[in-house]
């Protein structure tokens, strides 16, 4: 009887230990907070002072291809051009997906022609809300290098006025 009892305790202990070891590394399921989406119709307009071209120095893994112009909003890609875009041509994204109330971060990469080594380049980025300009930034490069820059834009929550007027 006692040896059988010892074996049962042994099995229970081993089983418990095994279950614990296996479950130890299982990541706890996190709760993700989704901030509220900004209200209104947003448009983003990007204008470069130079012709953007696909980057010969881009990482090409087969999954990501070289881009000439890339804009990300809060880490998600909202604009990618792999073709040549003439200088001064406004490129518009409307509506802008993923804008939230509060702080938003835009990241922009623009690739100038390789041969022009001594020039600095600029990109103008404008954000419109319901046709009204809410942010206007110019991003500059070092001479000869591409533009890779980020900036933040705060979008204020629209507070609807309560209609307290009664006839």
């Amino acid at each position: 009887m006692r040896p059988a009892f010892a074996v049962i305790i042994w099995v229970v202990l081993i089983g418990g230990l095994t279950v614990y070891m296996q479950s130890r590394d299982t990541a706890a399921v996190g709760v993700t907070y989704k901030p509220p989406r900004a209200e209104g119709v947003f448009a983003l307009q990007v204008t470069t002072t130079f012709a953007v071209e696909p980057d010969p120095f881009a990482l090409r893994t087969g999954q990501t291809e070289a881009s000439a112009l890339l804009v990300k909003l809060n880490g998600s890609e909202i604009l990618r051009r792999a073709d040549r875009v003439q200088a001064g041509t406004p490129i518009r994204v409307e509506p802008v997906p993923g804008l939230i109330d509060g702080r938003n971060e835009f990241y922009l990469e623009a690739n100038p022609p390789v041969g022009l080594a001594n020039l600095s380049y600029a990109v103008r980025v404008q954000l419109f809300r319901d046709g009204q300009l809410v942010a206007d930034r110019s991003l500059w490069s070092e001479p000869g290098s591409r533009i890779a820059s980020s900036f933040q834009v705060s979008v204020t929550k629209v507070t609807k006025a309560k209609d307290d007027h009664h006839e």
Binding site: T18, F57, T61, N118
Partner: protein, 306 residues
Amino acid sequence: MTRQLLVLLSIGLILVTSMLATVRAAEEPSHKKPFILCSTTQLADFTRQIVGDRCRVSSVLGAGADPHTYMPTPKDAQLALEADLCIENGLHLEGKNWMATLAKDAGKPVVTATDGLEPIVLDAGGMKVRDPHAWFTPRNAALYVNNIVRAVSKLDPEGRSEYEARAKLYLQQLRVLDAWIRDQFNPIPPAQRILVTSHDAFNYFANEYGFKNQAPVGWSTGSEVGAGMTPERRKVVVDSIKNFNVKAVFVETSVNPKLVRELAREAGVKVGGQLYSDSMGPEGSAGVTYIGMMRENVLTILNGLQ
């Protein structure tokens, strides 16, 4: 009896815990680093920039060695046997394809770093030869880097994000290097941009930065088609030096400098310095990395021609 039971349980617990620990250790990635064997010093540098300390990287050729005439040794064969991946330049830079042969004999995968390149085609006595010295422009170096990233990511998929992150940084360094080279050569008038070197290794560099390239020895120092020195080629080079008022000629680290020194005496010009060509510099020298090698070459050319 109770004491015996407790002893038994304790021994059992210790045994099980150590067994589980062993199983867990076996599940963890092996601590043995993958070993990558490259044919040239340039390829080894590109690979090191991408893999960091995650892999061991070695080069068959040492500083100053000539890939065209190199004969592999038994030690190289042993290295190939130990390797998980072999990387060659391709385009017959490795004379008689010695790197591909080493890898094949060892049964190891070999990746060609120039895959996807549009090579410069040279006219070698009526024969068309693809110029293998493609690493001489940062733009082509970026292609090498991308091919190597894909190869090492396939070899070690768990390290992919790390390799890609390092490669992104290195590609930006190559971009800056390219812009810097253009900026440095800008003060030299195009008519004076004549580069006379030991062998015909600088065609990609010359094309990219607006130089006319001349060399008494063909694309290879070996015995392949279009390789070596011919009296006609030598005469063309001497005439060019005189006609274009070339200020200096340059010797290469991996080629015997005797011929270029003779040419300089014959044409009455100075030897402008030594350029890193088919291999990079030794440990402790400025040319021990690709970027250092290119930087020093540019400065040597500038000092010689200005």
